[in-house]
């Protein structure tokens, strides 16, 4: 009997022994303290942000790619110093 087989046997015996077989609900969360919950965002009526279908038209300028200027004017400019170690992500 290999070492792995033993480990598996022990692990499965452990499951049986702890009487876990009656677990039927996924509402049971993990051990308290295990997760640092950053906060809970209740999903609203719009279901986590799915767009509504509509039978209305919209307008958007049919621009040419080369004329577009990609200037970021959003909140990313507020990040501390806005400096990202780009190299690090690429090394991954």
């Amino acid at each position: 009997m290999s070492n792995n087989t033993n480990l598996i046997k022990t692990a499965l015996t452990g499951i049986m022994a702890t009487g876990l077989l009656a677990v039927t609900s996924s509402a049971m969360a993990g051990k308290p303290g295990m997760e640092k919950c950053m906060g809970v965002a209740a999903a609203g009526k719009n279901d986590c942000g799915t767009s509504e279908h509509a039978c209305a038209g919209m307008s958007k300028t049919d621009g040419q790619a080369e004329e577009w200027v990609y200037v970021k004017e959003g909140t990313c400019t507020k990040l501390a110093g806005g400096k990202i170690k780009v190299g690090k992500a690429k090394m991954k």
């Binding site: 692990a11 049986m16 876990l20 965002a41």
Partner: protein, 257 residues
């Protein structure tokens, strides 16, 4: 005139392909040329889809700003036209698109934020599944046991990132106390996204080594590792991890392939 060809020409042109065939089907007049009339539809389709993507990826949109987001969506929409009738299913390719999009190379966390937003959507729409009867595991022979593959609960997904995307996400929520200025973005995180009784939680594993090890264990399960391989990797810790996984309802079912 073949209407099938006409519709194909329109699809081609609306999603960034050659316009000449589509335009050739259209009547122009002194008010608007045929190309301009066709352009109203192209603009409308792109407008509708951009709005849908903005609703799906509000944090990404806020990070880069409306104008950038709009322009970026045009390219995304051309590259990944919707194949689905339901808005809730459109946009899953945005993280992939962003990971190679040259104009966001200076904000490499954007693709991961998109992945986080999309994952919230997936988890939200996951159907709840009955938890399996794990006692059946003891009835398997040794060979079957080592081939057992577990499945994680459908209401839960794991994400890891080189960047502090959890705080970045929370900083954009109403009533948040996370300030963008305070975020140390270059900080790797292992996250759990979980739907629990009508709410969606984004949690980060604590710094405790066991907990982070447990996250890796769940991640290995999500990659389809069988018991044999899990035993090899986790050794003595296998028993604890497995009990914890089933007890916490992280692991939902198993198959014996």
């Amino acid at each position: 005139m073949d209407i099938k060809t006409l519709q194909g020409d329109f699809i081609e042109a609306i999603f960034g392909g050659d316009k000449s065939s589509a335009v050739s089907h259209v009547i122009g007049d002194d008010l608007l040329t045929a190309e301009q009339r066709f352009g109203i539809y192209k603009g409308s389709v792109h407008g509708i889809l951009t709005q849908a993507l903005g609703t799906m990826f509000p944090v990404c949109k806020a990070l880069v700003g409306d104008k950038f987001f709009d322009n970026m969506c045009d390219l995304f929409i051309n590259e990944y036209p919707p194949k689905t009738t339901y808005f809730a299913e459109y946009g899953g390719d945005l993280p992939t698109f962003l990971s190679t999009f040259e104009h966001v190379k200076d904000i490499p966390y954007l693709a991961d934020v998109a992945r986080l937003e999309w994952t919230r959507q997936i988890v939200w729409h996951a159907k709840s599944v009955e938890v399996a009867d794990f006692s059946a595991l003891s009835e398997l022979n040794e060979e079957q046991q080592s081939n057992v593959v577990f499945q994680l609960a459908k209401n839960m997904h794991l994400i890891e990132s080189e960047f502090r995307i959890d705080e970045l996400w929370f900083a954009h929520q109403p009533d948040t106390d996370v300030k963008l200025e305070d975020i140390e973005i270059n900080h790797a995180v292992k996250l759990i996204i979980r739907k629990d009784q009508g709410t969606l939680k984004i949690s980060m594993m604590s710094k405790d080594e066991n907990d982070r090890d447990f996250w890796d264990f769940l991640h290995a399960i999500s990659l389809g590792y069988n018991l044999e391989r899990l035993a090899e990797q986790y050794g003595e810790a296998l028993g604890n991890h497995l009990s914890q996984g089933i007890e916490g309802a992280w692991i939902q079912s198993f198959t014996t392939e």
